[in-house]
């Protein structure tokens, strides 16, 4: 069974100008250990699709099964818990908590899961080492560069050992050196920890490194 299975997912946004179909009948699946990029121009529905997979947005039609659970049917409360337990998120704008140190940010999801401080600090430190930021563990986000913040965000997403990580344009705000470093780290983690990564991107550098490419156009998968 595939890790993630999408069946005819449709997402329509209603606005005063009329309805916009952001995702239009997408059916695909993702296997464990994938390093996949959903690619396409701005407004093609990448982020909407990613939000739907991540349970942040409910599709109007279709099913999304993760490990056999149809998350479309989950109640709001259960969906929040499902996200907490099974999905890691990396956002375009890093979205670290400014009052927490890199170590605390990395361990934050574990804290929400109720993991003891000792355990989460150990795991967070291990991940900060993996992303090359062990020496910045006690710095707050405003003391880190954009690339470093995004590495902390990746470490945070990985901390709870989620089933997969959704990264929405993770390199959009990074220079090429930081992008390379981040991609190296994610590729290494994908290799070593078998972590599944799904990106949405239009960054050629990311596309070049992806092992599977899903081109999206006007809300539909092309070239399949």
């Amino acid at each position: 069974m595939a890790l993630i299975e999408l069946q005819n997912v449709v997402k329509v946004y209603e606005s005063q100008a009329g309805s916009i179909t952001a995702v239009n009948g997408v059916s695909t699946s993702f296997e464990e250990g994938e390093f996949t990029a959903i690619v396409g121009p701005s407004g093609c529905g990448k982020t909407t699709l990613l939000n739907a997979i991540g349970g942040l947005d409910r599709p109007n039609q279709g099913h999304i099964h993760i490990d056999g659970v149809n998350i479309v049917n989950l109640k709001d409360r259960d969906l929040i818990d499902f996200r907490l337990q099974h999905i890691g998120f990396v956002f375009q704008a890093y979205n670290l908590i400014p009052v927490l140190t890199a170590l605390e940010n990395t361990g934050f999801i574990l804290e929400l899961q109720g993991v003891s401080k000792k355990e989460r600090d150990a795991r967070a430190m291990e991940l900060l080492e993996a992303v090359g930021l062990a020496d910045r563990a006690h710095n707050r986000p405003n003391q880190l560069s954009g690339g470093q913040q995004q590495r902390v965000a990746v470490a945070r997403a990985l901390a709870s050992r989620p089933r997969f990580i959704l990264a929405d344009e993770p390199t959009a705000n990074l220079d090429s050196k930081s992008t390379e470093t981040l991609l190296d780290i994610m590729a290494a983690l994908n290799e070593k920890e078998k972590t599944t990564f799904i990106f949405s991107t239009h960054d050629q550098r990311v596309i070049d490194r992806a092992r599977r490419i899903l081109p999206l156009e006007d809300g539909q998968l092309k070239g399949l």
Binding site: D57, F91, L112
Partner: protein, 432 residues
């Protein structure tokens, strides 16, 4: 995390915490000030004419008849004199009478007093504005309130006639010379209350016989007394009640009069009251004051609560993106709610102890130095108060104030928390 969040905008938080501290300080100081003022007024009224405690016979308590004398007065006085808390005693006779002058008549409450004892307990008997207080024990002297004298158009050395029923039920009239006018705490008292020597009125009433003549205080309807601290009265009264001799040991007033003989037979017990029972309105004034002060404090804190609510709303507006992220990664609504409530409570409670300490400190200092009000001496004197007011510390209010802060800040957290809970993670994260 809640505590660190507060310090994202240090100046804003300092202003909120400072205003909370200031509000609590002002409220606590106001409470101490008003309590001090009220206590001073109460003590002044107690000094003036209420006294701190009063003993009567149960019969007098049930119906204040002239016959209802205290049945074993020497023992009562002896017991009071043994009590270290009691500083002065004043036995009194109390009669209803009509007073007449050449130009008018009025109902009056006649106090038959033993002058020195009366003056030791009551200020009204000491504040003689014209003439003197009563002198010789059996003289035909009378002291009126200024207001009554004005109404009856009498002056010093004028004659007035008191008409009253004696113990035999006969209507009796007696002539008195005005020797002094007193300045009472209220016009109402000045209009009705007047003083004559107890010995004189007791004789006229037919209360004395030869066996009583040797005593310092032969008869009384009331024994009023002063204690060291009128606010520590309950133990004093309880202590007096415990003394068996007061209730069980009977010393009877001998009398030829039939009604007193009846009193002898039924060995009436005594009633001891403290000032709150003698003058319930003074006790109520304390309670009303306490409740009003808490009401004022609630209003002050309510204003604070709106400030805090505003601050929290701003904080949430600024952090929309971050709150969206928290929800996206899996922070549930309960945790988010508690985060906002915790931030609000911390913001409030950071100011509370500062306000309490400042308030307590200010009260502790001013309770020793006093605060003198300039230009309102006359108004204060009308209430029987000095121009220097001594606020008092009010630790009994600190817990209710803390409780109020807790409740109001919790309530002020609800709206911002609700706002936060209603955020949609995706839309919130789009906010720049």
């Amino acid at each position: 995390m809640a505590w660190r969040n507060i310090w994202r905008s240090p100046w804003r938080s300092i202003v909120v915490i400072g205003s909370m501290a200031l509000g609590v300080w002002a409220g606590i100081f106001m409470m101490g000030w008003a309590t001090g003022l009220n206590d001073a007024r109460t003590v002044s009224l107690l000094d003036d004419n209420v006294g701190h405690g009063r003993i009567t016979s149960a019969a007098y308590e049930a119906s204040p008849e002239a016959t209802a004398l205290i049945p074993h007065l020497p023992r009562v006085l002896e017991n009071l004199s043994r009590d270290t808390a009691v500083t002065a005693v004043a036995p009194r006779l109390v009669l209803q009478a009509m007073i007449q002058s050449g130009s008018g008549a009025a109902p009056a409450l006649v106090l038959g007093v033993y002058p020195e004892a009366e003056q030791a307990v009551f200020k009204a008997a000491r504040t003689i504005t014209t003439g003197t207080f009563l002198g010789e024990r059996e003289a035909d002297e009378i002291v009126l309130g200024e207001e009554l004298a004005r109404r009856l158009e009498v002056e010093i050395d004028d004659r007035v006639v008191l008409t009253f029923q004696d113990l035999a039920g006969e209507v009796h009239s007696a002539l008195f010379y005005v020797v002094g006018l007193y300045d009472g705490a209220s016009n109402l008292l000045e209009e009705t209350m007047l003083y004559v020597p107890a010995w004189n009125i007791a004789t006229q009433m037919g209360m004395l016989d030869s066996t009583l003549l040797g005593r310092e205080y032969p008869v009384a309807h009331q024994v009023n007394f002063r204690v060291k601290d009128p606010y520590a009265m309950d133990p004093t009264v309880d202590n007096l009640r415990m003394q068996d001799s007061l209730r069980l040991h009977h010393v009877f007033i001998r009398s030829r009069i039939e009604s007193l003989a009846a009193l002898e037979r039924d060995s009436t017990p005594l009633v001891i009251k403290e000032w709150r029972s003698i003058s319930p309105e003074l006790g109520y004034a304390d309670e009303i004051m306490a409740q009003s002060l808490l009401l004022f404090m609630t209003i002050i804190l309510l204003a604070m609560a709106f400030g805090i609510l505003n601050t929290m709303l701003m904080a949430i507006l600024e952090r929309t993106r971050e709150l969206g992220m928290l929800m996206a990664v899996g922070m549930n609504k309960r945790r988010l709610f508690f985060l906002i409530v915790a931030e609000t409570l911390l913001l409030s409670f950071a100011g509370l102890p500062i306000g309490l300490v400042l308030g307590h400190g200010t009260l502790a200092i001013t309770s020793r130095t006093g605060i003198t009000l300039q230009g309102v001496e006359k108004g204060l004197a009308e209430f029987g108060l000095e121009s220097t007011i001594y606020p008092i510390t009010v630790p009994e209010f600190y817990l209710p104030v803390a409780g109020l802060v807790f409740i109001l800040s919790f309530l002020s957290a609800l709206y911002p928390a609700r706002k936060a809970l209603k955020l949609n993670p995706i839309e919130s994260m789009r906010v720049l």
